[in-house]
Subunit: 148 residues, 4 copies
């Protein structure tokens, strides 16, 4: 197990949609988790994890891969439309068969202050058995490189 100081190396920018707001007139809490997911997938792309759309061609489909086991978010600022946000994603722990991702959402309207912050534990699973299996060494290596 290794703990690293997260550097949030993967960044993506997206506009807030009017429809992201709920009946309180704020960006709904589920949208923060959608943004975290976008950060997670961008990170996966960066370290060449198994193909995202896992149903295109049978022979390409991996028999193991990442599963989100848990996640959390602290809501720090009430986001509203119009705004642009930057989602920054990193890894703060690489374990034997899981790793911990860190996310933060920065708001342009609030001078790029943090509007949301959270973590997610991703477990490496055998999709047939549903059990955790060791994380491939090459993926661990690409994460270490990206975070260093």
């Amino acid at each position: 197990m290794e703990n690293v100081e997260p550097k949030y190396p993967v960044k993506l920018s997206t506009p807030i949609a009017w429809g992201d707001m709920d009946a309180f007139g704020h960006v709904n809490n589920t949208v923060f988790f959608r943004l975290f997911e976008s950060g997670r997938i961008a990170y996966f792309d960066e370290v060449q994890m198994p193909p995202r759309p896992i149903h295109q061609e049978a022979e390409d489909r991996p028999d193991h891969g990442p599963i989100l086991a848990s996640t959390n978010c602290d809501f720090l600022l009430p986001l509203t439309y119009p705004d642009n946000v930057r989602v920054e994603t990193g890894v703060e722990r690489v374990g034997n068969s899981s790793f911990t991702m860190v996310y933060r959402i920065l708001s342009e309207k609030f001078g790029w202050k943090e509007a949301g912050r959270g973590k997610g534990v991703v477990v490496w699973c055998d999709y047939k058995t549903g059990k955790s299996v060791p994380l491939p060494e090459d993926i661990k290596q690409r994460m270490r490189t990206l975070e260093s």
Copy 2:
């Protein structure tokens, strides 16, 4: 081509979620299309269309199936939480390689009046070529039976 008087034979009930409302305090327009989709899938199940989650096992995946080509909705009443709705779905036209579905959303809060009404054209496609192909006769037959 056959035109039939739609009987809306497939019905499903679902509660409106608070989170279905947008910043105007009404159920958002995209939710009406999500409800239509739920009606469409329930109808597909009823007439035994190819398996919905098309990526489970390669050998089970069909090489042709339904694709939504167009859809529309008339918004008749402003839905709000809390409410329960009934989505009723039928087929009003069965063509050679496509069919037209009809949907209506009834609101308990409004005395089961129509809150939304729409249609959708579904084309039978070869997933490899992306072209339309004839609708299988057995599926047409099950639609006729369900609508009669």
Copy 3:
């Protein structure tokens, strides 16, 4: 009533999120309507329609404004993550108490071809009575200017 050749003067760009895809591995149909909505709101901003989040301060809240009466979409290309889209919005008809908007969604991955196209009828409503009322002359004027 005036009909104009739509010029789609309002344009916005947004990335497709991985989570916009459904279990068929394509961007879900409801997302097209969410994108149309973003185009509609951007257009409303451009012609200075009444404030969007209508619940901030009581004295600012207008007693009439736009209501989406109907909308439709033709799905032309199967969008997938990753991609960037441009949503272009215009007005093709300005009536006494309603107007018709036109939308198109262009996909970078498909060489900026049209992936979706649709319309929406917006009615000017008195929010107390729920009835349509004449569209204010200054808003009509700003639409004409924007489209010319």
Copy 4:
């Protein structure tokens, strides 16, 4: 501060929609938080918290109320369509100006086993200043009654 053994007194049932699934063919993680939100709002209704749609009439709008400060979820089972879930919600801690809610999602398809479990911290806020204020005594009392 009081800690109570959560009894999950507020229960709501809802069908899983086909559109709740993502490109992995499982109910997307954001849907778990949407279900938690539905449980939270049902609980708020039960203890007569300030009106949900806070923008109807200016004079009815409260100047303080609940704000979700943080939330988390453990994903225990891969939900898929079709299924029905029961969302059970309780309060496990009532503080001076905040309280902690507990949620669990039970799946009919999995024999009503827990598919998701989480918590949420709700802070009582003055909407003008954005600062926390003491939770009204009558609301605390209704929570205690509901949990006992």
